[in-house]
Subunit: 330 residues, 2 copies
């Protein structure tokens, strides 16, 4: 790879999480599907917020979580996403910059508020997300700073942003810039419902632009309409140099070139909240990749980061991932 | 006591906490006194926020925390405090109403934002608070709804509000209304520096209006300029029907009439964050009082609530205090 000032730039929905413990009955009564992400509008957001219990606000957003993870490992990370000039936008920007993730996007003054994700955590530690995208969904090609993207070895895109045509264009632009500058493009499919809504567009993007694909079992089988994990893996390998599939407590499988590596999940004493597991797995994997580690080590770093984040409430790591990695790498 | 629709109404600074783990060196470098509360202005708040690490936002405010605790015990609580019509104000109001604390104060449209407390938690679980009061400090007599205050058996005032003359007047008004309606007035001294700044005004209020006084060792000795805890207790008993003094891990001492009761602290496996310990102790005590329990039981309920809140990050209880109390009371 050419010399770059950043290891990874993430692009995604800039969101603040509102995390609230609840029970299965409440999730059901609200008509939500446990474990999934649902997009909601202003009215639905107000109604759900009124009904739910007290919350804790923490910066979130899938790709942003991943970038804080890369930074926690000691990697050089940047982020592009749309916030408003409001209090939640300030919180979001602060929490990125406080961990040294480069974030230069100017707050929008359109009057549309910063997006938020209402996250209900059930006693089984599963998270059910209802996301009000707010201004984050207005990400457009003009928001993609070519120099910023070109400065990164890997440009990492989150599938969640895929719900708007302008965001798709922004992704296409970022991917083109990244490749032209000798960088790689990585994509996470984010959510199986998101994949179902945009299957063709996702398939095209993966075939045309994606070097490193992250997905879980539900997402990869939804993308290729295949019955099994193995079929999904085989299909994805036809299009991407590197396919990284996670399987929750069953660990992950990585395929690159002729190599296929299966890595177990890190043991966790007590799973408190699965929010951010996939985001932090990607952080560890991407960090490993930019450091030139072999695929097994990359996957292992992903597992370590995922294990840390599910052991507490919140989608960002609370301890130094560099220190955890040191223990493993030494 | 006469029939009342509320058990306790709390009046205080409506604040959102921004909680961030840090180390002693950072607290020192910022010129802060560990364990204390410092008032900061807009500029200081911006500078400290820029310097500090990522945070978690949770509704706070001393008396508001106490009211959520009363509600968690199953008591009927209300709250008066000033928020702005901004995102943090919405969060604050939601988190009170979500636990059924009556909160009718209209958001201010003056353009001054909702107040926040930047709370640094060191590895020893101590909290150091830098509070930007924002609109909360504009609480004035007009904000005291006489019917609302009169509907409560106990009106609970936090000392933190004492830094503005208008707030003092608001307190005087609330106390007069409460007494006229046959209710009691409780006050917590909140912070020894706060007491030092307004010693005479506090002494007058205690002598004139306070039936139940809450304080810790540093606060009570500062109030009466006496060398020892015992001297402070003796002095306070001259003015208040009920004196409730907390001593961190050494438990609490309660004096009422001829009775003096010492109650040990509840054991806690691991203290994570002492924020809210005093607030939740007061919640348990006040709840017990409104239920007609003896002083020892009231103090014990306080200890139970304090132990719950210091076992995790954040100043409000995460589990049902009613359930914890049930175990003790049965």
């Amino acid at each position: 790879m050419p010399e770059k000032s950043l290891d990874v730039v993430g692009i995604g929905n800039a969101l603040v999480d509102v995390i609230s413990p609840t029970d299965d009955a409440f999730v059901e009564a609200q008509g939500l599907v446990k474990g999934s992400m649902t997009l909601i509008d202003t009215e639905q957001a107000e109604s759900l917020y009124r009904a739910m219990g007290p919350g804790v606000e923490m910066s979130g957003g899938s790709a942003a979580n991943t970038m804080t993870g890369v930074a926690s490992f000691g990697g050089r990370a940047g982020y592009i996403g749309k916030i408003a000039d409001d209090q939640l936008g300030e919180v979001f920007a602060h929490d990125l910059r406080a961990v040294h993730v480069a974030f230069e996007s100017k707050p929008s003054t359109l009057g549309v508020p910063t997006g938020r994700s209402l996250i209900l955590v059930t006693p089984d530690a599963q998270r059910t997300m209802s996301t009000y995208l707010g201004v984050s969904e207005l990400l457009a090609p003009a928001d993609i700073d070519p120099d910023f993207v070109a400065s990164a070895r890997i440009t990492y895109l989150e599938g969640y942003l895929w719900d708007r045509p302008e965001a798709m264009e922004a992704y296409r632009k970022a991917a083109a810039v990244a490749h032209a500058a000798g960088g790689q493009v990585a994509l996470t499919l984010s959510d199986s419902f998101c994949v179902l809504r945009h299957r063709e567009a996702f398939r095209d993007l993966v075939a045309d632009e994606v070097d490193v694909l992250f997905a879980n079992e539900a997402e990869i089988t939804a993308l290729y309409e295949v019955p099994s994990f193995e079929d999904g893996l085989r299909e994805a390998r036809r299009y991407c140099d590197l396919v990284v599939l996670t399987r929750s407590e069953r660990g992950s499988v990585v395929a690159g070139g002729d190599e296929v590596v299966a890595v177990p999940a890190e043991p966790v004493e007590r799973v408190a909240d699965t929010t951010g597991a996939g985001d932090l797995y990607a952080a560890g994997f991407l960090f490993g990749l930019t450091q030139g580690h072999d695929l097994g080590t990359c996957a292992r770093l992903g597992s370590i980061a995922a294990a840390e984040v599910i052991s507490h409430v919140g989608a960002r790591s609370l301890t130094s991932l560099a220190r955890l990695a040191e223990r493993y790498l030494s």
